[in-house]
Subunit: 368 residues, 5 copies
């Protein structure tokens, strides 16, 4: 699968691996930093308030030809980045800057929005969690927003935008009545909404881990905490810049831009609130997970204490007693006590007294 | 109960649980994120400086009809979010944006203020503490402030605003002489005042925990500290945005808005000071609770030291002595010492000397 | 005594205790959050560059009557907050806002400055330390600065302003030649100067604790560190806002206000520098006290190591030896070694060799 | 080699060593803070969109003479700082401020950009990693950007700019079609791109260390973590200011400067994004490495627990049993049990019972 | 010596000790916070681009008389603060504000710059390190910069400005050709340059401590780390405000002030960079020293583990064996094993088997 996987069971770092092959090329040279080989797939959804068309053009030329005919809002979705020449042609045809194409293909971009003369370039990260394997995967979604169409370019096949397509097909909600800016907003909204799902699952896992921490702390729990902490670091890295991104779009909308209309601003502000809420929750989780490590360490220390207490109680009671038995186990010829008829019971009594003194001492120290 | 409970005895995370059912719906679709089923309840308090009326309309239509007749300040209070269609009708009637309704129903909103053309939408969080169960519960209070009326929408039944109602009924204080902005302020003031009560109870619990920490640190104390810490994280998350909220209202008041009058600004500044004070106290508590964990760990370490000292003193005194007794307990045929008449007393004397040396060594090390 | 005491020996939290009795009252209702019952005391000092009068009016009416006659700079000092009706009358007479009175009576205010049309309201905190009991106490000083007089309202009897009074009486310094703004500055200057005295005493205590930490770390030291840390948290909470306060006054002075004259600005800047210096020192102390906890933990760990080393050395030398003695203490009928004439000396020699090997091993490990 | 080496195996601090020899000299006196003695080397690359020349002048005079003839974009690259008089002449000839020369020669500069009337002075740091020895080395690259030429001055021989030279030679990319500002950008771009390579290698080392930490934590791992942490501190110190640097260049470009053209701004923004990405990754690594220390400590604590458990189980079972055997090893004349025919089997049975009780106790405590 | 010493071997806090004697005096009263009694010493250096004079006036009147005659740049240097009346006269003569004099005499000022109508008042801190005693000492240098002269007032005798004097005497560098602003810059430049020397020595000490930490961690190392940490806190407190100071001078220079000329601005910016570099290094050292404490704790924990392992291995092997020997050392009359001819060898064999099992168990646990 062509995705950066934050593996949980076998954690791997989000290193910028494929960058090395770009070293020394002129800036703007498109190099794919992924190694999937399945061909890219294009789907076009064209709509206005009255009508909609959905086609899957076979070639990029067919797509461009179609685009030139239509005047309504068009959503071009590209699945997969393998077909670089096709993407290059698409960009050239619509006047997209070569640096944008380079960014689309480098799938380790930070979420951001870049404002060009006639279009906005938006990079966002879609996160997904594989429930069984507990793996969080991250996919880069590039969005190009122009006054008449939206191009969305996904790093891997399969997405979470089916509900948006259904809204267009069934003409539910405001989508069909609004421009491409609302479509771009809808895509970002779906991505942020999906973060909540991931946080839900992480939250459940945290609760499960907390219970386990109380019941039976073990190095396994420790490593799960470590992984969770690392997941949090990575989640944060993906989600934090989204805030800035949406803020940037909002600013764009306020500066009487043609790209973002006034009516969309209120939705962007709502989306901004959601992002803040996601960030807040991630930070709260981080705090809780950090606290768990302290709990783990304290529990281990406490258990060590308990263990040592048992050893010490047994030791301090029996070591002196054993000394006494050793004493009268010596083979000296002249040991008057050994000959005495009450020697044995008296020694037994002495040892009982010694034990009692020890037990009283322990009770005072509150060890038993 | 339809409330997000920060359980103390069985801590549960503030996960955004019900969000998943919204996934994929067009933005602005009202979905209730709570599962209480008791019907919502409306109460109307209408007042000016001379008169006041209090009615409990049976239906939303009755309420709207009443509203259209009256010109004085009106406070519509909605208890419970179950009757979505009623809330929807209310919003439509008074021109409230669908996104606001969506926010009202999502009861995990961050406190905030949103400025619309003809009204302000305020989200705040009321906190409550159940003294017996030590549970902090949080309830979302939505306030819609227009030039002539205030709609307050509460997540669950039962509130802390009875004193405000009494001020209206008995015409005490400034409330009857002022507009809806002062009513909105009064509601927020009650909420913030209530935080102080919660901080009082938390403060008492912290003092109790500190004493227990000194008297007898145990894993129970540790888990209480952990829960307290988590409570603090959640409290902070609820209270911090209040500061920004009130600041936002103040700014609104300064920008010659019709919604917040000049005279109310001074009260908002006072409320702002109170919020800062609450935040300060929460931060101080956080610092103190954090310090308690260090104390716990240090205490455990110290006790381990004490335990080991006892074991070591006993061990280092008696292990060599036991060796000596073992020595003369051996059954070799030719052991001259055993035959000597003073062998036994000499060995006893030797062992006393050994013990003394050890005790002097321990005293030097300041162990006893 | 009517003061918030940060107890050191029996630490109590700065909870906002008396707030609960205010819950539900209309804003601006004066409620005293202290419970001292001694009556308040008024003193008036009236002066210009030529003359000065000092009177102690018996009633508030006498005071107001006096005020109306005089035109020179007047300093009204109120000691104690018990006589609420008197304060209420004073405020009404001079047009002070009810919210100000409420703040004066709530003695847990954060230091701040509030600008009203004809006066400035300043809240500051005076700290004092009781050398014997090691208790830091905090007192709220409210200052109302108008173009012709200064009202200072102290939470408890007894103050540190006697030197200011003497400067007025003896006409030393600039006080008699300047307006009420310089008087207000002088009061704040005394308060900040007094912080240095407290820091001196805390500094001495820190040095003492550091020595004790090196000499003999004990849980007592730990609890002293904890208390010191908490003191720091509270000091910081009191002193930090002073910075903002003085900055606020300075800004007021620059905005061509009638209340703060140009000539006073330079003194305010000087005061600001002193406050920064106090904050710096508090932060330095915090860092040092935090470091002490680490030292404590490390010392404990090191001592545990030392203890375990002793136990391990004794144990690993004597446990095997004791085994050997046990071996030849067995009562088997057929044990050839026991019969051998050199059995005993050989075993003794063997045990010496074993001890030597152990000692060499320990020396290699650098344990002895 | 004339480079500041952050040694990994034998860590050495980035102290500002050679500074002392400058103490007391007038500012602007050029003093070399390195001690390499190989002579400096100059290479000139002169190009426009049609043509390019590459010469290696033997003396600085030849270089200056050449410069005066040509009008196209010129890149003067100086390798090594040993020939101070040559650099001084170069600076004088092109009107470079003496302070700039001083900075060029002090090779511990922080990355920065300084704007002079006719030129920009840019200091950046090139990092390199020696794979075998795990050593990160840092080299200072000074860039002087004027409207017609770029002077790059490298601290040590050998660089990573060969690909830029090839782009000029083969006329690939935009370089030949643009001015000196794009050349300066290209140099910085290569430097930042190279950071990714270093991060890749560090990332691999972190993964390797994590595995080792799980498999077998040892003080060696600890020291590797410490070194890694220190590397991170130093990396951060080198890379953070790059962000500001590029931001500064961008600002320069926006202020209608002659030095940075409009068309380059978009490339600078792209470079800025890359820098942010590098910083993000460094911060993530720092977090992960910090977490590893906690894991190390927890693992050690857990292992100590495991060790103590074994000792305690063995001790608490056998110490009482040994006492019993000692008891019946005593040589009292009158011990009725010893005479009893079932004495021995009964004692054996008693000891078995004792062991069982202990084992049940341990199982309850979940120790076995 | 009249200097605030940050003692390393016997650390003493930077308490603001002498402040108490000022309590209650009118602001602007000059009180010396040091207790040296040697008389102050004045030296005058007067120069322009052509000539220079160096005199040591015997009295302040002689100094003032000289000043009034000359028009060239004059540097008045005062060594020691003991002669308060002389300083007072100097200040009065040149119209220096009493608050400035107060600040000059309070030798615990924070570095700062204060802008008055006709002069700038600069406070800076010179640090020095005594190599043998490892003591960092701090001295306050006050600089008064007017359009025609510079007064520098040093807290103690002996300085690091001899090289500046030599530059004036020998007419090297720009000093003689520039105004008093460049002289003030030169003094600050010397102070900041001197910080690098101190950092060098601290850096060497850190490296030495790191080696010791690896070789043999002991409480001595711990206390050295603690002292180093504290030194860092104090260094930081002295150096951080320098940044703001120089920034302030730079701003002054940009606001078309008569005091700082345009040409000096570029040198101030260079000085600013140096200060940042010093701060960066201090922060790096702080990070490294903090990390050392973690290393110390981890090393101690690891060693404890090693110690416990040895004890546990010895204990778990020999304690059961000793039990067996005890068993057959019992004196029961009827113990069939004792009579058996192969009893002894069989028991020896059994004990060997037991030891082997233990050793295999330890190898599995990777303890040996």
């Amino acid at each position: 699968m062509a995705e950066t996987v934050f593996k949980l069971n076998n954690p791997s770092l989000p290193v910028v691996k494929k960058r090395s092959q770009k070293a020394g090329l002129p800036p703007g040279t498109p190099v794919l930093t992924e190694d999937d080989t399945e061909p890219s797939k294009i789907t076009i959804l064209d709509y206005d308030s009255k009508d909609f068309t959905e086609i899957k053009p076979k070639s990029i030329d067919e797509c461009i030809a179609y685009m030139k005919r239509k005047k309504s809002v068009t959503w071009i979705n590209v699945d997969g980045l393998q077909d670089i020449s096709m993407l290059q042609k698409l960009c050239e045809e619509f006047g997209i800057h070569p640096l944008v194409l380079e960014d689309i293909l480098s799938t380790d971009q930070r979420p951001k929005v870049e404002s060009y003369d006639t279009y906005l370039y938006i990079v966002s990260r879609m996160l997904d969690i594989d429930g069984k394997k507990n793996q969080i995967s991250s996919e880069q979604i590039s969005i190009i927003l122009t006054p008449t169409f939206v191009i969305s370019i996904q790093e891997k096949k399969g997405d979470i935008f089916e509900s948006i397509r259904n809204q267009i097909r069934t003409n539910k909600g405001k989508l069909r009545k609004t421009g491409p800016d609302f479509l771009a907003y809808s895509i970002l909204d779906r991505i942020v909404d999906h973060y909540f799902l991931i946080l839900e699952q992480l939250g459940e896992r945290i609760e499960f881990m907390e219970e386990e921490l109380v019941r039976s702390p073990s190095p396994k729990t420790l490593h799960q905490i470590h992984r969770m902490k690392r997941d949090m670091v990575l989640l944060r890295k993906s989600i934090w810049p989204m805030r800035e991104l949406i803020n940037g779009l909002d600013r764009e909308g306020q500066s009487s831009s043609l790209l973002i209309k006034k009516g969309t601003a209120i939705y962007l502000r709502d989306l901004y609130d959601h992002t803040i809420q996601v960030i807040d929750t991630v930070e709260t989780y981080r705090d809780i997970v950090s606290g768990m490590l302290d709990i783990y360490l304290s529990s281990i220390s406490y258990r060590l204490n308990e263990i040592m207490k048992v050893l010490t109680i047994i030791g301090t009671i029996f070591i002196p007693l054993t000394f006494v038995t050793g004493l009268y186990g010596m083979n000296f010829r002249f040991m008057p006590e050994l000959e005495h008829p009450f020697g044995y019971p008296l020694v037994l009594f002495l040892m009982m007294i010694m034990s009692f003194i020890m037990l009283i001492y322990f009770r005072r120290k509150k060890w038993i």
